[in-house]
Symmetry: C2
Subunit: 478 residues, 2 copies
C-alpha cells in the first residue's frame, strides 16, 4: 500500500522519465501535415524499440486517471506518441478523465475505428460526456450499435444542457420492491454480484417504477434478515429532476451530505441517479471555469495548445477590454485642455481609477457569493446598499486623505490635494453602488454575475474615475 | 417526498416569512451596548408572543443546514433573535454549518454555559472545526469534560494546520480483523447498529491497529456469509497521513473516486478517516477563499457584518493597490515634460497598461491551474515560455495595429500610431514573460500563486506599460 503523497511523487518522477524516454527521439515539427497513419508510422520509427517497451511497461500498472494526468503534462507531440502506446482497452477511460481541450488533441489523432472501439467500452452516461468532441459519423455509428434502451438513454442525456442534472446523471441503478425481506434482497444482490459505483443506497420503487423511498446499504447490514424493506426504508428523500440546475444539485449534495440521490421525472418515476463523484467533478469544473472566465479566457486551455488556438481562446475578452479602454481614453480626451494646463493630473488620475476598481470588485465578490448560495432576499438589498455606501464613505475618508496629502506633498498645491481626496471619495461611492447593483441586475437577467460584473465594474470605475477626477479638477483648478 | 427545487423554493419563502415576522418588531440599533442577558430579555419583549410560537414551529422541522442558511440570510439583529429561538439541541449542528464569519456573530451572542452545552453535542472532529472561534475558557472547560481518548483526539486535531488532512479527518471508524467470516462481521455490525456517516467500507486492521486493507460494504453484501474477510478485502488502498496537504487529498479523492479513505501515522497505524463530505467542504471553501482573495478580500465576509469589520477585512489589499498605483503614478511623473508637449499621450497611455494587465492575467490563470494539478514539469517551462511569447507577438501584431490605427486616426499623427503599436507589442511580451514566470516563482517560494501573481502582474504591466509607452514616445516624438 502506498501513501497518496508517495504515489504522487512517483507519478511526477514517471512524467520526467517518460519525458526523457520520448526526448531521446527527434520529432519533426512538420509531422502535423501528415495523415494519421503516416504519423503513427513515423512515431514508431522515431522512438527507439527499447524505449517503446520501457514506456509500455511503465503505463501498464497505472490507473487511467494517472495516465490522463501524464498525457496532460506532455507537449502535444510527445503526448501523441504516448497516446499511441496506451492499451486500447484503456483508451475510453482515459478519454473520460482528460480535460476537454486535451481530449480534442487525442481524438484528432484517432481514426473512426479506434474511436468507436474506445467509446464502446464506456457507460452510456460517459459516452454522453465525450459526445460533443466526437466526429459526427462516429457518433452516428455509435448510436446505431447501441441497443434500444441505451440509445434512448444516450439521446436523452445529449438533450439536456451541460449545466443540468440530466447531463450529470447515471443510468445504472439497483432498484428493489418494498414488500421484500432483507434476506430476499441479500440473495438478489449476491446474484447480481456487482453494484454500480458509489452505491450507498438501493432505490425502492413500485411496479410502475415510481420511487417510494431509499434503502441505505447500512440498514441492510445492521437489520435482521427477516425485516421488511418497507419498515426500514427512508421515505424522506432528496429528489432531483433531470432539468434541475446542476448548481442547485451540488448545493443540495453538500447541504445534506449525499453520496447518491435519485433522479425522477415529473411523475416521480425513477430515471437515473446522481453520484457525489459527478457532483464533485462538476464543482471543480465550475470553479475552474469561473477562474478562467474571470481572468478573461473563453474556456479552459490546454497549456500546450497551438499558438493560434490560444489566440482564439483569448481574443474575445481582449477585445472587450480594448473597447472599455478606448472609452476611458476618450473620457480623458475630453479633458486634454485641463491636462495641458495642469500636467500633474495625468500622473495622478490612474490612482483614482485603480482604487475604485479594486474596491468595487471587493463588494462584487461578496454579492456574487451571496447570490450563489441564495443568501440575498429582497429586503436585505437595501440594508446591504446602505452598508456598502457607508464602508465607501469611511474608506473614502481614510484613503482620500492619504492620496490628497500625497498629491499636496508632491505638487505643493492644496487645491489639487482637495480635488484628489474628493474624487477618491466619489469614485469609491460609485464603486460601492455598482458593486452591489450590477451583480444583482445580471443575476435577474439570467447572466452569470461572477464573470461580467467584474469587467463592467472596472470599466465604470475607470471611465467614471477619470471623469470625476478630471471634471472636478477642471471646475476647481482651471 | 419533495423535489430539491421545491425544497429550495419553500426555503426562500420561509426566509421571507421569518424576515416579516421579525420585521413587525422594532429593534433598537443600540442594543449592541447591552449585555447578552439584557439583549435576550429585550428581544423576547420585541417579538410578539404569537410570532415567537409561529417562528418556533417553522424552525422545528428544518434540517440544521437549512436553519444555518436562514441565519446567514438575515441581518445581524434579526439573526440573533432567530438564533435565540433555535432549540438548544440543534445549536451545535448549526454552528458547524454556518460560515466562519456568521459563526462568530452567533458565538458572541452566547454565554459560556450555552456554548459548552452546544459543543458537547458534537463529535470531536467537529469541535475541532469550531474551536478557533470559541472563547479560551470555554475550550478549556470542554477539554476538561472530555474523556482521555477524545481529549487526545481534540488536541491532536487542533495541532494540525487548517489545510492538512489532520484537520479534516474524523475519528469515528469501524474496524474489523482479517480472519473473520462475513457472518461474524454481519453479527458484529448488527450489534453496533449504527455505522459512522458515509461509511462505504470497513477498515481491516491487525491487533496493533496497523492497516491491512479495506472491505467495501458492497463486498459484505454480495459475498456468501462463509467468506473470510482476508480473501475479499481490497489491499490496494489510497492512504493519507495527517500531515498531508488537504489539497493533495482532495485531488486524490476526485482522481480515484473515493467516498472514504483511511488516515494512518508513519507506521501505517490507523488514526482516523477522511470522508468525501469533508473533502467537498474543503474544495468549496478553497474555491471561495481563492475568489475572495483574488478580489482583494482578506477572508470571507458576512454580508451583514458591521461597517468597521468590513473596512478591516478590505484595507490590506486596498493599501497594496494604492502602493502599486503610487508607483505607476511616479513612473508617469518622470515623463510629465513629454505629456505637456504631446497631451494625447495622457489619453492613450491607459490603453497600453490595461490590455497588458488583461493579457498577463490570462497567461497566469493557465499557469496557476497547471501548477495546481501538478501539470508543469521542468522541461515544459521553456516550451511554455516560447509559446506564450509567440502568442504575445501575434496578439501584439493584431491589437497593436488596431490601437496604432486608432491613435493615428484620432490625432492624425503617424509617429504616434507607431509608438502606440510598438508599446502595445512590448507590453504584451512583458505580460507574457511575467505571466509565466511569476506564478512559477511564487510556487517555488511556497506562496499561493493564485492570489499574489495577479496583483504583481497588474502592477508590472501598469508601471511597465506606462514606462514603455511614454519612454518610446519621448524617444520618437519629442
Amino acid at each position: 500500500m502506498k501513501n497518496n503523497i508517495e504515489r504522487k511523487e512517483s507519478l511526477n518522477d514517471l512524467i520526467e522519465q517518460i519525458d526523457e524516454l520520448l526526448e531521446s527521439s527527434e520529432f519533426s515539427e512538420n509531422s502535423n501535415d501528415n495523415s494519421v497513419d503516416e504519423k503513427h508510422a513515423l512515431i514508431k520509427n522515431l522512438v527507439s524499440k527499447k524505449n517503446i517497451s520501457s514506456l509500455e511497461s511503465l503505463l501498464d500498472d497505472l490507473h487511467p486517471a494517472d495516465i490522463a494526468d501524464i498525457l496532460e503534462s506532455l507537449p502535444v507531440q510527445k503526448r501523441l506518441v504516448l497516446w499511441d502506446l496506451v492499451k486500447s482497452e484503456n483508451e475510453g477511460d482515459i478519454l473520460i478523465e482528460v480535460s476537454d481541450s486535451v481530449r480534442q488533441t487525442l481524438i484528432a489523432d484517432m481514426d473512426s475505428t479506434e474511436l468507436l472501439a474506445a467509446a464502446e467500452q464506456l457507460e452510456t452516461d460517459e459516452i454522453a460526456d465525450i459526445a460533443p468532441d466526437l466526429p459526427e459519423e462516429v457518433l452516428k455509428d455509435l448510436l446505431e450499435n447501441l441497443d434500444i434502451q441505451n440509445r434512448e438513454r444516450l439521446q436523452s442525456a445529449l438533450s439536456y444542457p451541460e449545466d443540468s442534472v440530466g447531463s450529470l446523471m447515471e443510468f445504472e441503478i439497483t432498484t428493489i420492491r418494498e414488500d421484500l425481506t432483507l434476506e430476499v434482497v441479500l440473495n438478489y444482490l449476491r446474484k447480481i454480484k456487482k453494484l454500480p459505483n458509489h452505491t450507498d443506497k438501493l432505490f425502492v420503487v413500485d411496479k410502475d417504477g415510481l420511487i417510494l423511498g431509499v434503502l441505505p446499504l447500512e440498514r441492510i447490514i445492521v437489520n435482521a434478515p427477516t425485516t421488511i424493506v418497507k419498515n426500514i426504508m427512508a421515505k424522506e428523500v432528496v429528489l432531483f429532476k433531470p432539468e434541475d440546475l446542476a448548481d442547485e444539485a451540488s448545493n443540495a449534495f453538500e447541504r445534506y451530505d449525499l453520496v447518491t440521490a435519485p433522479v425522477v421525472d415529473e411523475n416521480k418515476k425513477l430515471v437515473g441517479r446522481l453520484t457525489v463523484e459527478a457532483v464533485m467533478d462538476f464543482i471543480r469544473q465550475e470553479s475552474d471555469n469561473e477562474k478562467f472566465s474571470m481572468a478573461g479566457l473563453r474556456e479552459e486551455e490546454d497549456i500546450f495548445s497551438s499558438i493560434w488556438k490560444s489566440v482564439q481562446n483569448r481574443w474575445a475578452w481582449l477585445a472587450i477590454n480594448l473597447l472599455t479602454a478606448f472609452i476611458a481614453s476618450r473620457v480623458i480626451g475630453i479633458f486634454e485642455g485641463s491636462i495641458e494646463k495642469v500636467v500633474a493630473l495625468a500622473a495622478l488620475m490612474p490612482i483614482i481609477a485603480s482604487i475604485g476598481g479594486n474596491s468595487g470588485n471587493q463588494t462584487t465578490a461578496m454579492i456574487v457569493r451571496a447570490l450563489a448560495i441564495g443568501q440575498l432576499t429582497q429586503s436585505s438589498i437595501r440594508s446591504l446598499l446602505y452598508k456598502e455606501i457607508s464602508v465607501a464613505l469611511l474608506n473614502g475618508l481614510i484613503w482620500g486623505s492619504i492620496v490628497g496629502l500625497f498629491a499636496f506633498y508632491l505638487y505643493n498645491n492644496a487645491d489639487l490635494g482637495f480635488v484628489m481626496a474628493s474624487a477618491m471619495m466619489l469614485n469609491l461611492i460609485l464603486a460601492a453602488i455598482m458593486g452591489v447593483l450590477m451583480p444583482i441586475l445580471m443575476h435577474r437577467l439570467g447572466k452569470d454575475p461572477a464573470v461580467g460584473s467584474s469587467v463592467l465594474i472596472t470599466a465604470m470605475t475607470d471611465s467614471g474615475g477619470f471623469f470625476i477626477f478630471l471634471g472636478l479638477a477642471t471646475l476647481v483648478l482651471i
